[in-house]
Amino acid sequence: MINSSSDNVKKLNSINRRMFITGSLKFFIMVGIVSRLFFLQVKENKKYLTLSDKNRIREWKLAPVRGEFQDYFGNVIAGNFEAYQLHVIPEQVENFKYVIYRLKDLLELSDTEFKKVLKKKKEIKPWETLIVSNNLSWDKFSKINNHLYDLNGVKPVISISRNYPFDENFTHIIGYVSQANEQDIENSELIKKNFVPGIKVGKIGLEKSFEEILIGTNDIERYEVNAYGRRISQLEFQKGKKGQTLKLTVDTEIQKLANALLKDKAGSICVMDIFTGEVIAMHSSPSFDPNLFVFGISQDNWQIIRNDPLKPLLNKTLQGRYSPGSTLKPIVALSALENGIINTSFTVRCTGKTEMYDQTYHCWKKEGHGYVSLRNAMKMSCDTYFYEIARRLGVDKLSETAKKFGLGKKVFDNLFEIEKDGLIPNTQWKKNALGKGWLLGETIITGIGQGYIQTTPIQLCLMTAQIANGGYKIYPKIVINDNDKIKPSDYYTPLYKNSKNMRIIQDAMFGSTNEVMGTSYRSRIDNPKYQFAGKTGTAQVKKITERERELDLKTSEIPYEQRDHALYIAYGPYVNPRYALSIVVEHGGNGSTTAAPMAKKLFKLIIDRHEMRQSINEKKYLEI
């Protein structure tokens, strides 16, 4: 008994000692857990609160409303329209199969379109929106609305989309928008920021150049979502801002005329204000309908545009590099005058051809022009005369003057990424680029705008404008509210050494158009209000062989690709000039018969609309 009781005491001592040890251990563990709670909930609270919000709040961005383009008179040339769309949220549809087949009937979807919709459905979550159709006609849209009673879960939606009301007229200026692809997103932070599936961004032209101004900002909807991404409730709606509207200097009526004149032809027309540098019209033909691209162009339409032999995708005004032909002659003459090589009484005898450096150079007129002075040489576009003065002038001095007047250099800097420099050759260039010495024969053909020299139509227009305004530097622009980066002091810097020379050239160009024997005499307008001065040009696309020269084929008898390009530059009205233009018709045959008559029609319209344009200007000043 004693034994057992003493054992009991020992046992009790042992268990109590161990209870004490356990108790202390428990205490430390509890302290550990409480401090962990403290660490998570008090010290790190902010971090976890943010994480929790990140979990539960999700943003949905809606496509921003794109800024518009307006012409000089405020007409919308690239606007927005309400596209009728059809959305379906699969999980809200009781019988998806029935609804989708019903829609197929109502919308008359083709099998391929229908398959596309089904494929899209597989790719999205059941609570996400399936766009069955993104641009319905009003007829179909109203038809759907009439059948909504048995189309549970189908939502007719009006969404805002791009519209080009003048179809192909402005494509080569504005460009077009289409769905953003990976490259677009990668190249622009702003597109990345504003990206929503289906967002449309500018692909070429000003739509692309001014993307960041036009794009606007998204509407943002904030929703509370659960772990599976399902929206529970809307927390906030943040209205976005519409993109900025861009006003262009372009006159829609003149642009439309340019388009009509070049119908079924490949070529370019540009018109420019000779003092402000505002581009009044700038058209490259053929063009294409930018509306086709907005919702993704169909394969058939794309093939038609791509395979057109007249190359609608090429912007001939900015990308087309043409030999200027005789339209370079005013610059050659000016350069010779400025450098004191010739004076107005300098004459050359033209016999139709001339031998220089063991080579025969032909004038376009076989019989020759006889003795010609500067004015007559310009007027009749005598090649022999210009061979001679080019020989005396040398290519380096010529290129200097040509470059000064805007040739061989991008007119719009980086505004259009497709714009080409063209090429004004000189001895240095040839050495660097081709590694060969300059041949004197090359100088001679450069004198009539052939050979290496390449200019774009917009450069020719700028050159003409700067001749017309008396030889002062201007900076062409096409967007009115574009922030001008050019210092005011840079405007109207003289490009001539002696202003008398400018008047000589202007007078010669007047003769070329308005006097008998002038190359564009038939396209003249006698009424001084519209009277203009110009210079024709015919650029060979290949060397004419002796045989062909003997045959003396008519334009229509030559295969299209081998016909000469027809060019014309002009400015008007002759008294108090205001506008300059350049016309290029690819393979048009002859500048005086193909290009110059277009100028006549253009100047009529341009000058008729001049007062209207001025009144807008005055209004602008009044508003200030």
């Binding site: 509890m30 857990i33 709670l37 976890y48 609160l49 979990n55």
Partner: protein, 375 residues
């Protein structure tokens, strides 16, 4: 004389038994039940749905059962110590052959009105069994080879049956319950140290034998951010929920993490996460205090019991409950790898609650019959 009066008190009247109740413990258990009910209501999204209803019914039945158990003399619980243990082992064997498989583990047996998980019951009955085993043993015999081997067999047998289910978490908790009793029974502390060392040394080999999903859990615990949407998801979301609760919590029924279903298993193992998110640091500490009071009362009851069996059971049960709570909390707070272990009373699940309530009942019985001597 004094001794005599005590002995006459052996025939407790109903009224006396009622008076002997530990009301602090009872109130704390009821309070815990109430808190768990409110939390369950929140997991149902603020509606009385299946989980809330079911939890309420179980709480009612098992609380009644606990009270019933408290009136039964502690001697009875002593007498069925081995039998109940063998009974549960039998259930485990039965489960092994005929149990219901759910999420890859065969741990339930279908009793038509309830799906019972015998492994949960084992957590309690192993304590009862070992407490009885050591009750009469002399201290000098405790450390004999025979005793140690027997007790190890008593622990290893149900552990093995649970591991093959497979359910590593529960089998470890069974072992913890058993070892707690061995510790209080006075087995030389050297053995515990050796076992610990042996465990640490064999850990790499154990890991090599772990099933791929168990290995993944260990790796995930070590670095939850490695695969945030996969294996680490639970622990990351749990930490976000607790951390975003802050000092005072997001408010009752306003826990966004659970309400928006970011929290996994919010009814069962992660119930504390939800509670902590809604009631914050203050609420969590209050809940901890309730648990601490319960454990403190259990130990106090053990200390005041005359019989060694009651003492051993109370101490063992108190330690086991403590371990269950801390393991569950450490797990959801990212201090331990995820092992399936419910939070006593709070978590949804009948078997766990049944076992815990039986435990509370026996403790209460020890209190009511604190003067009862067991020969």
């Amino acid at each position: 004389m004094y001794q005599h009066t005590r002995l006459t008190n052996n025939n407790f009247t109903f009224f006396q038994k009622f008076k002997n109740f530990d009301y602090i413990l009872l109130i704390c258990i009821l309070l815990l039940g109430f808190i768990s009910l409110a939390t369950m209501y929140s997991t149902d999204g603020g509606k009385i749905l299946f989980h809330t209803k079911s939890h309420f019914i179980k709480l009612m039945i098992f609380t009644m059962m606990m009270l019933f158990i408290s009136f039964i003399n502690i001697k009875f619980w002593f007498s069925i110590g081995y039998l109940s243990y063998l009974g549960v082992v039998g259930l485990l064997v039965w489960t092994y052959f005929f149990g219901i498989t759910s999420s890859g583990s065969q741990r339930w047996m279908n009793l038509y009105f309830i799906n019972l998980q015998p492994s949960e019951l084992m957590k309690i009955f192993i304590i009862l069994c070992l407490a009885k085993y050591f009750h009469r043993m002399k201290l000098e015999n405790v450390n004999s080879v025979y005793t140690i081997l027997t007790s190890i067999i008593i622990i290893i047998l149900p552990m093995g049956l649970v591991i093959i289910q497979p359910d590593l978490g529960t089998s470890l908790l069974i072992a913890v319950s058993g070892i707690a009793v061995l510790w209080f029974a006075g087995i030389n502390h050297k053995y515990f140290i050796y076992t610990m060392l042996g465990f640490v040394i064999s850990l790499p080999f154990v890991i090599a034998f772990l099933k791929p999903y168990q290995k993944l859990r260990v790796l995930t615990f070590l670095n939850p951010d490695k695969d945030p949407l996969g294996a680490g998801y639970q622990i990351i979301q749990s930490k976000i929920a607790v951390g975003s609760g802050g000092i005072f919590g997001k408010g009752f029924l306003k826990g966004t993490q659970s309400y928006l279903e970011f929290l996994p298993e919010k009814h069962t193992d992660f119930i504390f996460t939800l509670f902590s998110e809604e009631f914050g640091f203050v609420g969590s500490v209050v809940l901890l205090v309730v648990y601490i009071i319960i454990i403190y009362r259990i130990i106090a009851i053990g200390a005041n019991s005359r019989s060694y069996f009651a003492k051993l059971f109370c101490y063992g049960f108190g330690a086991a409950i403590f371990v269950f709570i801390t393991i569950n909390m450490s797990m959801v707070l990212g201090l331990l790898p995820i092992v399936g272990s419910p939070l006593p009373i709070m978590s949804y699940g009948g078997s766990s609650m049944l076992a815990t309530m039986i435990g509370f009942g026996i403790v209460m019985s020890a209190r009511v019959h604190s003067q009862q001597l067991i020969a």
